[in-house]
């Protein structure tokens, strides 16, 4: 048995696959691929599979990370090609390697927000991002109970830049991420849209990298 870290892209229609569904989808892909995945040895044997940082529904990702355990001999390159042969549209494995570090080292994530050219206002966007206060509500826990909590997203912006890709204006933004503080890009997108009266509505969001506190790509 050995640990294996698999990096994959989840784009296009696959962005509507929820985290739980992705888990099931990947397990089935392993079963179809013939890659010898390791099963736990309990009363109810199941494969070991874990995702570094779950992605919100509707967000694309590049270089996403999942860890699995492999049983038996198979070269990593073959694992990659076998998985790609059986994965559905929008899911593609880019590489497989021995893991380093643990997912709790993730401290931030890099995102690209795509805006239509129409109605895009760079100055307005900057003004909101620099305002120091972008409030949103998120589900949190207080004394074990679920409650709505207020969060200031502006506190979790770790830098941003603006650019253009094809027909789109793009906001490249780094947000706190991980199991301590996780700033949800969908909430930020909703807040931008609300603050601008709908003008700054991202048509697509893509997570492009997971980063450690030292700004090293987690992979």
């Amino acid at each position: 048995m050995r640990n294996l870290r698999i990096r994959f892209d989840k784009t296009g229609r696959a962005k509507y696959v929820s985290h739980l569904d992705l888990n099931r989808c990947m397990l089935r892909a392993f079963r179809r691929s013939g890659v010898p995945i390791w099963y736990t040895e309990g009363f109810n044997p199941h494969p070991y599979m874990t995702f570094a940082l779950p992605l919100p529904l509707g967000v694309e990702s590049e270089q996403d990370v999942m860890d699995v355990r492999i049983d038996g001999e198979m070269e990593n390159d073959e694992i990659v090609s076998r998985l790609n042969a059986v994965l559905p549209e929008g899911l593609r494995v880019t590489d497989a390697a021995e893991p380093w570090g643990k997912p709790d080292e993730i401290a931030a994530a890099q995102y690209s927000f795509f805006f239509d050219g129409e109605g895009f206002a760079e100055a307005a966007l900057k003004e909101i991002l620099d305002s120091g206060e972008i409030l949103c509500e998120k589900m949190g826990k207080k004394n074990g109970r679920k409650v709505m909590k207020q969060m200031n997203l502006a506190e979790h912006i770790r830098g941003y830049a603006l650019g253009r890709e094809g027909d789109y204006n793009v906001l490249y933004i780094k947000l706190s991420a991980g199991n301590k503080v996780n700033a949800n890009p969908v909430l930020l997108s909703d807040a931008l849209s609300a603050r601008s009266g709908g003008r700054l509505r991202a048509v697509n969001i893509r997570r492009t990298a997971l980063l450690t506190e030292n700004n090293v790509a987690f992979s």
Partner: protein, 613 residues
Amino acid sequence: MKSNIEQLLLQVQKPARYSGGELNAVVKDKEKTDIRYAFCFPDNYEIGMSHLGMKILYSLSNAREDTWCERVFAPWEDMEAQMRANDIPLFALESMDSIRDFDLIGFTMQYELSYTNVLNMLDLAGLPVRSAERTSLLPIVIAGGPCVCNPEPLADFIDLFLPGEGEEVTHELIDLLKEHKKKGSSKEEFLCAAAQLEGVYVPSLYDVTYHEDGTIAAVTSQDGVPAVVKKRVIADLDTVFYPDKFVVPFMEVVHDRVVHEIFRGCIRGCRFCQAGFIYRPIREKSPETVNKQSRELCKTTGYDEVSLCSLSSSDYTKIKELLEQMLDWTVEDRVNIALPSLRVDNFDENLMQKLQSVRRSGLTFAPEAGTQRLRDAINKNVSEEEMILTSRKAFAGGWTAVKLYFMLGLPTETDEDVTGIAQLAQKVVDEYYKNPDKPKGKGVQVSVSVSSFVPKPFTPFQWEPQDTQDELKRKQELLKQSVTTRKVSLSFHNKPMSALEGVFARGDRRLGRVLETAWRNGCTFDSWDDHFKEDVWAQAFRTCGIDPAFYANRRRDHSEILPWDHLDYGIRKEFLIAENQKSHSGEVTLNCRERCAACGVNLLNGGKCDAKS
């Protein structure tokens, strides 16, 4: 993906219902196909994606190079609102194209309470709901499935029906449509030609007249059109098409596994059961074929469970051979085998031990009626002794929960039969306490689930009145009072919906107006508790001047012309009348394997029926 649709997906619950792109979904080049076929399931994605018939016909149609078949489901209310607000017509999941521009739109009719969804889906597609108002050749709107054994309530909306099994007639119909599309025929020309195919019913070519009392006077076919339409039957299940791939959904659906049918039809002849009659004759699939195809499906889908389905799995004559063959690979590949509808009594215990999923599932009996007298009347051949004996074995094996299924409102039912349900449940409880080795400190739980009976076409009860809601409510109260122990829990599935189901199951063409009125006033997803609008339906019946009791609660004479009499499901009417009379005199009919009851269906299949050994 189309951006206007994509923008809606993040505004709705469960976008994976609408985003497509699942594994094994078939995407073709639309420029290179002659026929685009929208296969529609008139309920939500989770229900529709669980349906085996759709998987078969989807793969079968797509195996043709000239046809691209895509899946369409009824959008949930949140999505429907978004689509209507943003002018997005109903689209197919593979191409995201509007189905309005397709050549063929097919609905599978699995239950009567999905009828309003058919109208709603046509409307969402931007098409007139009435067949007569869709004047061009394309798209042709067709329907199949068990409900079309009485298609009359849908006659105003559907261009043609396909009674019976679809594997062969689908090909014939596509060939014909392709030819007429090339020729530039009119819709009428195509429909007249289609009516000549065996197993095709074109309702607009039949005229119905009525007596003054509302019953049917005559159903007359137009010149050159067959007076009676025979359902289609597949002769050999070993050679008929079966998919080697299933579309694997991302989201969890109701039946999320490989499903394999082991035989069609049923030998039991329970008089209330429509499936037991309309899927005859019995045709078994060989264990070799089932084993091979199941293994292939597991490989192409990655599923870890195979469900072997039929109307009564233990009546499959080669069940032992099949399981032995399958266990050769399923254990190693970590695949579970599920055997629903299994009778526990006569089953090999060694084999059962190996079937994990069987071992874990609950112990369930479906006696359907509380007394032996009523069980005889409905020809449900489960005896009290058998049940008690099996319960005893199960309790000795450590089980502590039993589920019992019953129906209220069965023909000839008396109050004694109703209270008999409570007594039978009590006897199962008593049996538990007779077991000297029962687990310490653990009680028994007997769950009694009670639904209400709906008389259906092509059954011996097709002439019987359905109990009124008031009568059913009275019987429910009586049953509640008869249960005196907490070890027995009662749950009722008598929804006012079953009254509506009864009306449409045995209704005629005049109900088309009611259906349209109810739908226009907001009825959709009627089989869902939280969507069913009883008052809107009641109002629709009043508006149209139609009394639902005429269809549901009236005893029909054996000589009355029934709305589905011009469809031939192979079952002789004399046989059904004899069965009806036997039920009233409490006589049972042996199962088909013990003695052929001469129902006549084998004649549809060249005289062949696998019930005969």
